[in-house]
């Protein structure tokens, strides 16, 4: 495919596949699961056209370990899945995070727990931002709210993964993944001037000392404690450098909605209607779920001491914990309202509108 800026019409799940190829992804491993199956379907064809590695694994467990292997071998690699499949990948993600292997993981979130359903959901927020697997680790989590962002963020995710040497998630959902929208398929533009060379990669030890990729660190405190401290120094750096957000109409707002991904688009429609009616409603949209963009949210709260917050999520309330933590010293919980829909269903512009009215009337 040509690399010039081109407006195309595609599903979110296909856009992330094309983005991976544009970003130089050499290997893709996955297992079918609704609502993300368009990504493996799309890449089964495209990876072959580009003479790249596509492999349908026997399980999510195998797929994430193939990701581990390919990342260790020194190439850009991706997998994708949806919630129940992501649970299975958590073992591998913990190892990959510990071994500091760069990779991109797409989660097209569906309703849970259990088999749940196949509708859009945001109930994997805890899983993605709190680790999911065992041990002390973090992953960068990017949350697109359109097909354009699904494409752009997937390309950027590869750079972030290589730059910080860690797994990077794209946290999409059943709606963003299935949505067909026009978007500009831009060429790969590097995020960083330079990426660290992969001197640690397993390529056979000709002309150098052997490389060992390991996650076993016996003999504390020289072993694992040291490794974890090092990881957390890196995570601190990322928190300082990569807090992504969008804010809309927040200055002087009476109510600021906090929502990400699909929920933020629905909220935006409700805000449009509302602001036509006189009261001022804004929105703060995290684009990174980890690191959570608390600096800007604190600023909004400090600039606007009477503002009320309304957190909207397609879950029973998970991101709201980060809102509480960010604002705990400056905004009482009574000024933070919540509107959530669990079970794989989504709010409507009308239901958000009603909720805004309620918050304003309180």
């Amino acid at each position: 495919m040509a690399t010039e800026n081109k407006k195309v019409l595609m599903k979110g799940n296909e856009a992330v596949g094309e983005a991976a190829i544009r970003a130089g992804c050499q290997c893709y491993f996955a297992y079918p699961i609704t609502p993300q199956t368009e990504t493996p379907e799309y890449l089964s064809r495209r990876m072959e056209e580009e003479n790249l590695v596509f492999l349908q694994a026997e399980s999510e467990v195998a797929a994430i370990n193939m990701v581990f292997g390919a990342a260790a071998a020194g190439v850009r690699v991706m997998t994708s899945s949806s919630s129940p499949g992501m649970s299975l990948k958590q073992e591998g993600i913990s190892y990959i995070a510990c071994a500091e292997m760069p990779c991109v993981i797409i989660n097209v979130v569906r309703g849970g727990p259990g088999l749940g359903n196949i509708e859009a959901s945001q109930a994997d927020y805890f899983q993605s931002t709190r680790g999911g697997g065992h041990g002390d680790y973090r992953c960068i989590v990017l949350a697109p709210n359109s097909v354009q962002e699904s494409y752009d963020m997937t390309v950027q995710a590869f750079d972030l993964a290589d730059y910080y040497r860690m797994p990077v998630f794209i946290q999409s959902d059943g709606i963003i993944g299935q949505l067909v929208e026009p978007f500009v398929m831009g060429p790969y533009t590097p995020m960083f001037d330079e990426l660290p060379p992969k001197e640690w990669a397993l390529t056979g030890c000709a002309g150098r000392e052997p490389n060992v990729i390991r996650t076993l660190f016996l003999n504390p405190p020289d072993g694992l404690e040291k490794q974890n401290v090092r990881l957390y120094e890196k995570y601190d750096r990322i928190e300082a450098e990569q807090q992504w957000y969008e804010d809309y109409n927040c200055d002087g707002a009476e109510v600021v909605i906090i929502a990400y991904g699909c929920a933020s688009r629905i909220a935006r429609s409700a805000i449009k209607t509302h602001n036509g009616n006189g009261s001022k409603v804004g929105m703060f949209r995290p684009k990174t779920l980890w690191p959570w963009p608390k600096k800007r949210l604190i600023e909004i709260a400090e600039n606007n001491p009477k503002v009320k917050f309304l957190v909207i999520e397609m879950s029973m309330g998970q991101m709201i914990e980060d809102v509480y933590i960010s604002l705990m010293d400056i905004v009482p919980k009574s000024r933070i309202a919540f509107y959530g829909i669990g079970g794989g269903w989504h709010p409507t512009p009308d239901s958000v509108y009603e909720k805004i009215q309620e918050v304003l009337a309180e």
């Binding site: 492999l55 026997e58 467990v61 195998a62 260790a72 020194g74 390529t203 056979g204 000709a206 490389n211």
Partner: protein
């Protein structure tokens, strides 16, 4: 005086953490000899398993990835897809390969991945202190089958070579043992063949090696050798199960 044997160059000189009488050290020595003979050290990537051989990278001087329990065939698959010109050696034990990693080995074999797998079968979980493995013999006492493994409720030991031989993309499957000098020599020939197969692009090769675990079996090193000779080889017959070379 003539030097007949020296330590393989690819093996470190610090020694291993294996228990006295354990078979892993013998397998390690054989790998080292063949790696030296075939000049593979700088071309190879080894997968270390979860189990007693987890720190293989302390013993062999080559590129190594330490794998989650059972997942080495999936990791090896990716390594080989990225580096088809490199030599990929998969080293697994019986809990690793035949229990928690059963799916990964079956599907890697079924895809016919061009890899060499060494499956060290000592019929027990050694590192965790002697629990029942998928290859534990009927009647064999372990810490989780204290009255002996019985068929009812625990099933029979899994014969990996026989199981994999039904998969048409497997190219070479042989079961050997390291309980005697004669068998060690046969094991070396089998490992060598599995390695050469990969180099020649033949496809999936696996050598199942019956190996002693005196500590896990609560037997002396000598009685452990007899246990293989008299009991293990009875249920796990030695020999070639597939050779399409």
């Amino acid at each position: 005086m003539k030097v007949l044997k020296t330590q393989p160059k690819s093996i470190t000189t610090e020694g291993t953490k294996y228990c006295p009488g354990c078979g892993h050290g013998i397998v390690l020595r054989l790998i080292g000899e063949i790696v030296d003979e075939l000049g593979l050290r700088e071309k190879m990537i080894l997968t270390a398993p979860v189990g007693c051989a987890v720190v293989l990278y302390d013993y062999i001087t080559c590129d190594v990835i330490e794998c989650p329990h059972g997942r080495a065939p999936a990791i090896g698959t990716a390594l080989k897809r990225v580096h088809p010109d490199k030599f990929i050696l998969i080293y697994q034990g019986d809990g690793d390969l035949a229990a928690i990693g059963a799916a990964e080995i079956i599907h890697a074999a079924n895809r016919g991945e061009n890899m060499s797998v060494l499956f060290v079968n000592n019929a027990i979980y050694g590192m965790t202190g002697g629990q029942m493995a998928p290859t534990t013999l009927i009647g064999q006492k372990t810490t989780t089958s204290p009255t002996g493994r019985c068929v009812k409720g625990m099933g029979k030991p899994i014969r990996v070579c026989e199981l994999l031989s039904s998969l048409e993309e497997t190219k070479y499957l042989e079961r050997t043992s390291v309980h005697s000098a004669r068998n060690i020599n046969k094991t070396k020939a089998a490992i060598r063949k599995a390695f050469v197969n990969q180099i020649n692009g033949i496809g999936f090769s696996l050598v199942e090696i019956l190996s002693m675990c005196p500590v896990g079996w609560r037997l002396s090193p000598r009685d452990s050798q007899s246990f293989i000779e008299e009991q293990m080889t009875d249920y796990f017959p030695l020999g070639v199960y597939k050779d399409t070379d």
